[in-house]
């Protein structure tokens, strides 16, 4: 018997009981759709998180930090392994380096009138907003001129502004840092969803590095920012500079390239998201198993109902193989149609999600293809027992069955 003949026959007998075939299909449909939706959401979420973490890491600045800074979070003043002038000179000696700047991080207390707050202090050159990943949303960033002239100016984060000034205007106000008055020139907000906004607190104070050195003469730089000339391979240059600095420090792991750190964090996040997706997907897989059991159940009912039909077919010359194939094709037809519907639904969900939330959810085509094959395989697995049962019916008993 040819394949198209068998499929035609399967459709004919499914059409004889459309409601039942449809309801049986729904189980597979839901199972496949939920797995695909979860994979789509997982992939989309992963792409978004990794994109956010590594956003802006494609800069021409190498950010080198002492190893000590990496592990236990934010240092207290003076705690850091120092970056001193000789380190800066080593970095500056590499060809391909445009400039070398220092930035300082630390915790400090700022006061305004009777209010005070613990803040994270960032001090650096006039492109600190680029290095520490924030945007000045009101007022201005301090300028190169401010830096050169050791001016007492500050940019504060929105949340710090809210704490100190409430709804009042912070621009032009004076705050005190360690007894030194600073004029607020700008209000900043973290760049959207960058790693810095995860790691760093939200009450931030940004000042010129020269001003910081005046206020805290004992502080040593927390980060060295090496600006690379255009057209230079940033990561290879970063490796060479870090190596040279480590040799100079006499410790093979004294300094690290923190942009490299970013890459490893995003790899880790990717891995975690993948595992999470797999776990939730496996839970959704239970729906598919339940659907499969439903198919098997209905096929068994169908075999019992059609006992006489089976006897008639055998008396007309059907071989065991023909009977098995007939029922297998029927259950495969149910599960494949369910699988197709599930794939369509999964894709629809991911498209809808992308439109509504902007999460780049998508069903990778191998996953779609695989779930189609898998739903057909479920048809075979769940149809096999009923089909074999049908083929092994004694034709005489089957004919006598009323």
């Amino acid at each position: 018997m040819s394949l198209d003949e068998m499929i035609r026959m399967a459709f004919a007998s499914l059409a004889a009981n459309k409601t039942r075939a449809f309801l049986t299909m729904v189980g597979i449909w839901i199972g496949v759709a939920s797995i695909l939706a979860i994979v789509a959401i997982g992939n989309g979420g992963k792409a978004m998180v990794i994109g956010a973490i590594s956003s802006g890491s494609e800069r021409n600045v190498i950010q080198i930090v002492p190893r000590e800074l990496v592990a236990p979070g934010l240092p207290q003043p003076g705690q850091v392994l120092s970056i001193d002038d000789s380190d800066l000179a080593i970095a500056a000696s590499f060809s391909g380096v445009e400039a070398v700047n220092e930035t300082f991080y630390g915790t400090a207390v700022v006061e305004s009138g009777d209010k005070s707050d613990n803040v994270t202090l960032f001090a650096g050159p006039s492109d600190l907003n680029d290095l520490a990943r924030f945007l000045v949303v009101r007022g201005r960033m301090f300028t190169a001129e401010d830096v050169l002239s050791h001016r007492n100016v500050a940019v504060i984060s929105q949340s710090l502004a809210n704490k100190l000034f409430g709804s009042g205007n912070p621009l032009g106000a004076v705050i005190t840092l360690s007894g030194v008055p600073l004029e607020v020139v700008g209000v900043a907000q973290p760049e959207q969803a960058s790693l810095y906004s995860f790691v760093m607190g939200s009450d931030n104070l940004y000042i010129p590095d020269t001003t910081c050195e005046d206020i805290f003469p004992n502080w040593t730089a927390s980060e060295m920012d090496v600006v690379v000339k255009p057209g230079v391979d940033v990561s290879s240059l970063a490796n060479r500079i870090v190596l040279a600095l480590n040799i100079h420090a006499g410790d093979p792991s004294a300094f690290v390239d923190s942009s490299g750190l970013l890459a490893s964090v995003s790899a880790l996040v990717g891995k975690v998201t993948t595992i999470l997706t797999a776990v939730i997907g496996a839970v959704a897989g239970i729906a598919l198993v339940v659907g499969g059991v439903g198919v098997m159940n209905i096929m068994l009912v169908s075999v019992t109902e059609r006992t006489q039909e089976i006897g008639i077919r055998v008396s007309l010359g059907a071989k065991k193989r023909d009977i098995i194939t007939q029922f297998l094709v029927e259950s495969m037809t149910i599960t494949s149609l369910g699988g197709l519907a599930g794939i369509a639904t999964g894709i629809a969900v991911s498209v809808g999600l992308r439109a509504l939330t902007g999460i780049p959810a998508s069903v990778p085509w191998p996953v779609g293809a695989l779930s189609f094959v898998f739903s057909a395989v479920i048809g075979v697995i769940c149809g096999l027992y009923p089909a074999v049962k049908a083929a092994n019916l004694n034709p005489i008993d089957a004919l006598r069955y009323e």
């Binding site: 018997m1 040819s2 003949e5 026959m9 004919a12 007998s13 004889a16 006489q308 039909e309 006897g311 008639i312 077919r313 055998v314 008396s315 007309l316 010359g317 059907a318 071989k319 065991k320 193989r321 023909d322 034709p395 005489i396 004919l399």
Partner: protein, 228 residues
Amino acid sequence: MIRLVGVTKSYRVGDQVIPVLKGIDLEVGRGEFVTIMGPSGSGKSTLMHIVGLLDRPTSGDYELNGQPVLHLPSNHLARLRNQNIGFVFQNFHLIPRMSALRNVELPMVYAGVPRARRRDRAMELLEKVGMANRAHHLPNELSGGQRQRVAIARALANDPAVLLADEPTGALDQQTGAEILRLLQDLNASGRTVMVITHDPHVARAGRRILHMVDGEIVREEVRDESR
């Protein structure tokens, strides 16, 4: 054509063995019309199922067309059944939900006859039994006599040499039964071997040989002369 030697069939019910056929010797030549009569439970249907290769005897030998068939695997028997045997049952046994035409096509589906040819042949057969105008009706849209005609058309699908009918007129009124019988006689006249089980002496007289079964044995054979 059909040769049974010492065929027995028994069923085991619990630890009791119930003999249903007790040593049947039967020879039916090509083109014969044989009828079998006997009380209910005497084993007529069982015998017919064995002749039709649907069932295997407990012991004995069976040659179909001079070829011993009992040792053959079930796939092989299915093919022999498909090609050589046509069954007609008391309750018609048409597959519901399939049109008359599809029912008639079915043996040809299992024989692997291509679609177009199958359709033509099924139509031809329905015409032969006077059912062409009902080809697309479902069995439950047909009367008993019409269903039996369709069943006969189906039995003829692969042009089998042997036609086995188990009380083909049992569910029909006398006149319709007579029409069905005439159809079987015509088929016999065109060279088919026909075996009919019946309770009706009128029907039995259609055959040249009438076998009387009692309790799993052929107790008497009546041979009628050619004129009827």
